[in-house]
């Protein structure tokens, strides 16, 4: 049985911040399956159903309408919700967040030529929305606390390249720009920054996500910014598993890490399903995510948060790559712009976990495939 509180059939999220905002009703990347497809797999799909309580001792969950659903194994795959603005204005209908298909459709309904849109947060979702809204003719301002975009996951030269795409599309990037207050006026929202006030028609708050751990927490399952899970998705409670971005997964390093990526939503639950069937299939994939903005594709491979030294190279066609090396000269992470062909060779190069001479890494005439073979 698959129980979810959304009324839409299950879907993939990547198109929500792109194709849906550009007006496509059923982009192929949404991967929405029919009711029949679930029935054919003998999956009892319960949409629009809120789980109010989890009773681990009795091994059942209780819906908001009082139905008890018993289980042998329970997978908590409740995902994350958008972090909201800690201001009373957060409930104003002109202040939106983006997480679900319903959110994306609501946002799209607002986008029009000349709309003044502020996006708070220059992370992946904020920037993808800015790109889509600019294409729809909106006047977009991005407000970011850090001094560059995507500061959490890419080095500064990659940030600069991404910033150049947005500036070329007339998106106003306000970096190092904390928002002090947002006030509702009759015909606009007034956003106070340190230097001035900005008047907009709509504000998208894209300042990260918070895992939906409440059900687990209430029943005593170990939670710490995500439900703590081993490499196979087992939680601290017997017969309860955590899947996707609500899970904080044990890493080979011994640390736990939570991922908000399509990759983890797609592949980690396969390990969970194996564990339920009594088969250990640890989830150990090298982290990978991407972003599509305007006509560009950015690939991010490996763990960029390791305190790496970043080397950059640009090939004859102007394709920029950033390579994150550790103090032993081992490649640990890489970022590629418009060069998806090199993702798999780079992934192998990282997995090989051996030192690579710096001059070879920097030699843009060597493809990563050649580097891996050498």
């Amino acid at each position: 049985m698959l129980v979810g509180n959304e009324t839409d059939l299950p879907y993939d999220r990547p198109p929500l911040s792109k194709e849906i905002l550009l007006g496509e009703e059923q982009p192929r990347g949404l991967m929405q399956r029919s009711h029949d497809a679930f029935a054919a797999q003998r999956i009892d799909l319960r949409l629009g159903t809120h789980i109010a309580r989890l009773n681990a001792t009795a091994a059942h969950v209780e819906t908001q309408t009082g139905d008890l659903i018993p289980y042998d194994s329970l997978v908590i795959a409740t995902g994350a919700r958008a972090r909201t603005l800690p201001l009373p204005i957060a409930s104003d209908p002109r202040v939106l967040t983006l997480r679900s298909l319903a959110d994306a459709r609501a946002l799209r309904g607002h986008l029009r030529l000349g709309l003044r849109l502020a996006v708070m947060g220059a992370g992946l979702i904020g920037l993808e929305v800015a790109a889509a809204a600019a294409r729809q003719g909106c006047l977009v301002t991005v407000l970011e606390l850090a001094d560059r975009v995507m500061a959490r996951c890419v080095p500064s030269r990659i940030s600069a390249r991404i910033e150049s795409w947005h500036r070329a599309a007339d998106v106003q990037l306000r970096l190092s720009c904390p928002v002090r207050d947002v006030r509702a006026e009759r015909d606009c929202l007034r956003i106070a920054t340190d230097t001035d006030d900005i008047e907009v028609d709509l504000l998208l708050v894209a300042i990260g996500a918070v895992p939906n751990t409440e059900l687990a927490q209430e029943t005593g399952v170990a939670v710490q910014d995500g439900i703590l899970a081993d490499e196979c998705g087992r939680t601290s409670a017997p017969s309860i598993f955590a899947a996707g971005e609500v899970a904080r997964i044990l890493q080979p390093s011994g640390h736990y890490k939570r991922f908000e990526t399509w990759q983890v939503a797609q592949y980690q639950p396969i390990s969970v399903a194996h564990a339920i069937c009594g088969v250990d299939k640890p989830y150990l994939d090298l982290p990978w995510h991407w972003t599509d903005q305007y006509k560009h594709n950015v690939q991010i491979i490996g763990d960029c948060g390791l305190g790496l030294e970043w080397l950059e190279r640009e090939d004859a066609e102007g394709r920029l790559a950033a390579l994150g090396v550790d103090p032993d000269g081992r490649l640990q992470a890489a970022i590629l712009i418009d060069n998806g062909r090199e993702v798999t060779p780079l992934r192998r190069l990282i997995m090989a976990n051996r030192p690579i001479p710096r001059e070879r890494l920097l030699d843009a005439a060597l493809s990563f495939k050649q580097l891996h073979v050498a």
Binding site: D12, G29, M31
Partner: protein, 101 residues
Amino acid sequence: MAWHDVASVDEFEVDAPKVVQVGEVPIAVFQLDNGFFAISDVCTHEYARLSEGFCEDGKVECPLHQACFDIRTGKALDEPAEVDVATYPTRVDRGIVQVDL
């Protein structure tokens, strides 16, 4: 159906497809160990040109999101794609690789 020229046999390199546009349809033609194989050049997941992807062992990966396809059969091998790509017959006529569409 008609045969369309792609390129001469000796212009092909291993793991580097040639692209030919037939009307509205872009087709990627690959040389593998046992001959030439033609598939639609557009990923069935989201719009991307498979000819710009990584290619190895008879498989090609979408450059955007790493969906993987069997070049011989067009079969979608890995998420996020679930729909196979179209395949087209090929032949070699007097040293010229041709595709039938």
